[in-house]
């Protein structure tokens, strides 16, 4: 049984159709990379999966259960679906440790000590255990994003969503975040990533999804798609991304 199954999703903003009959399944342990031009609906798709956006038609089934509508049930579900945003969105008034322990202590009602143990574990996973007591403003963008990943990991989600998490970073900081992502991907986590890092997508993803005009335009193993795109849209997109200066 797939962990996540999207079937015939449609989403409009006013008269503009953002997602048009999108269907997609994600198996446990699968790493899915979603690529496409800006405005192709990638980010909206991701936000629909954990209910930050509502869908107009179609169904989203997570772990065998349809995505609930009511707020409390949706919160329950979000404990199992972590999301990391493009702009990190750490809480600037809390230390790194408190950023990470908020979810476990407030939502999961764990004792603080236990949550602090988890904080240290997840910080180790992203290589920042020495920043436990730092504040977000004292960290570089790359470090902030790694803390944001740790914060999501601390809830032990069954599915992780990543929304263009390297796009706001200075080029020299992208590498450290991609390295963390690769480690997570190879450790058997189920992940859906919207990304512009083609090298990462090619190396690490099990499945590549190319979105165009709100539709899943092409889907398959990344090496095949990169080597032999079936549509001219994907072909021109790959060319534009790999040779941006031509």
């Amino acid at each position: 049984m797939p962990l996540l199954a999207l079937d015939g999703i449609r989403k409009r903003f006013g008269t503009h159709v953002v997602l048009d009959d999108v269907s997609l399944t994600v198996e446990p342990g699968e790493v899915v990379a979603v690529i496409g031009r800006s405005g192709s609906g990638k980010t909206t798709l991701l936000r629909c999966i954990n209910g930050l956006e509502t869908i107009d038609e179609g169904s989203i089934v997570f772990a065998g259960k349809p995505l609930p509508k009511d707020a409390a049930a949706l919160r329950e579900l979000r404990r199992e679906i972590g999301i990391v945003f493009q702009s990190y969105n750490l809480f600037p008034h809390h230390s790194v440790e408190r950023n990470i322990t908020l979810g476990p202590t407030i939502t999961n009602k764990l004792p603080l000590e236990e949550a602090q143990k988890i904080a240290l574990e997840v910080l180790r996973e992203v290589g920042l255990e020495d920043k436990l007591h730092a504040y977000p403003a004292q960290l570089s963008g790359g470090q902030q994003q790694r803390v944001a990943i740790a914060r999501a990991l601390a809830m032990h989600p069954r599915l992780m969503l990543f929304d263009e998490i390297t796009s706001a970073l200075d080029p020299e900081l992208v590498g450290e975040v991609v390295k963390v992502l690769e480690r997570l991907a190879t450790s058997g986590r189920t992940m859906v990533l919207v990304t512009h890092e083609m090298g990462f997508a090619r190396r690490t993803a099990d499945t590549l999804v190319f979105m165009h005009q709100g539709k899943v335009w092409e889907k398959g193993p990344p090496r095949e798609l990169f080597a032999a795109p079936k549509t001219k849209e994907l072909e021109s997109f790959i060319r534009a991304v790999l040779e941006p200066n031509d």
Binding site: N50, L52, A71, R75, N89, F91
Partner: protein, 223 residues
């Protein structure tokens, strides 16, 4: 026979400072509680709550404080059937007034927090009350400190209006001393100086807090 504005008269005026301070404090604390509720209502996702709080704030902000004071004073008298003590009237009127203004100041502070902070909190997933308590309000609080202190200064000066219904605070005490000394050009400067002594340090405090917050946020201003 008139007497001079001497030590006993000065001490009478000075003593009245405590009523100005007490009234300001009650209005600030009561108005603070009301203002917090109003600010949360104003930023709520429930339309009726937004509407009720906007109507209340609009009503208070668009009518003179003096009219509100009269309406509460005579209103309470009509309801209770007796001429009442000015105390409950002034505390109630000033509390209602402060709640509206603080509510509006704090609404602005809450709305200044980027939407992504709400989203990140909702993704954790914190419940709405926990989002406010742990993520939004602590940040909004810092933004709100300077304008809140600024309003407190306005409030302290504004309590002089309570003198009109016979509440003896600093201004009323001054009037009483003018009535017995016929020396308004001595008494009122003293009264004004006492207001200044209360308000100026607070204005300075507000300015310093503002600079500190600007510095923390990395903003530089020419002053």
């Amino acid at each position: 026979m008139s007497r001079d504005f001497d030590w006993p008269e000065f001490l009478f005026v000075l003593g009245a400072v405590r009523w100005t301070v007490l009234l300001s404090l009650i209005a600030f604390v009561g108005g603070g509680i009301g203002g917090l509720i109003l600010a949360i209502m104003r930023t709520s996702s429930i339309r009726a709550l937004r509407w009720i709080s906007a109507a209340y704030i609009g009503l208070i902000q668009s009518t003179p404080l003096l009219m509100q004071l009269f309406l509460v004073f005579y209103g309470l008298a009509v309801i209770s059937g007796v001429r009442i003590d000015p105390w409950p009237a002034v505390t109630l009127a000033f509390t209602m007034y402060a709640a509206a203004f603080l509510g509006e100041i704090w609404r602005g502070a809450i709305q200044a927090i980027p939407r992504q902070q709400w989203e990140a909190a909702a993704a954790l997933p914190l419940a709405p009350a926990a989002q406010l308590m742990h993520v939004i309000l602590p940040q909004a609080f810092r933004i709100a400190i300077p304008p809140t202190v600024g309003f407190l200064v306005q409030l302290i000066k504004g309590t002089s209006i309570a003198s009109i219904i016979g509440f003896v605070e600093l201004t009323r005490a001054g009037q009483l001393m003018v009535n017995v000394t016929f020396q308004p050009m001595i008494v009122y400067p003293v009264v004004a100086a006492l207001y200044f002594a209360l308000c100026w340090p607070m204005s300075m405090l507000a300015l310093r807090l503002e600079r500190r917050i600007d510095a923390a946020l990395g903003i530089r201003r020419h002053t």
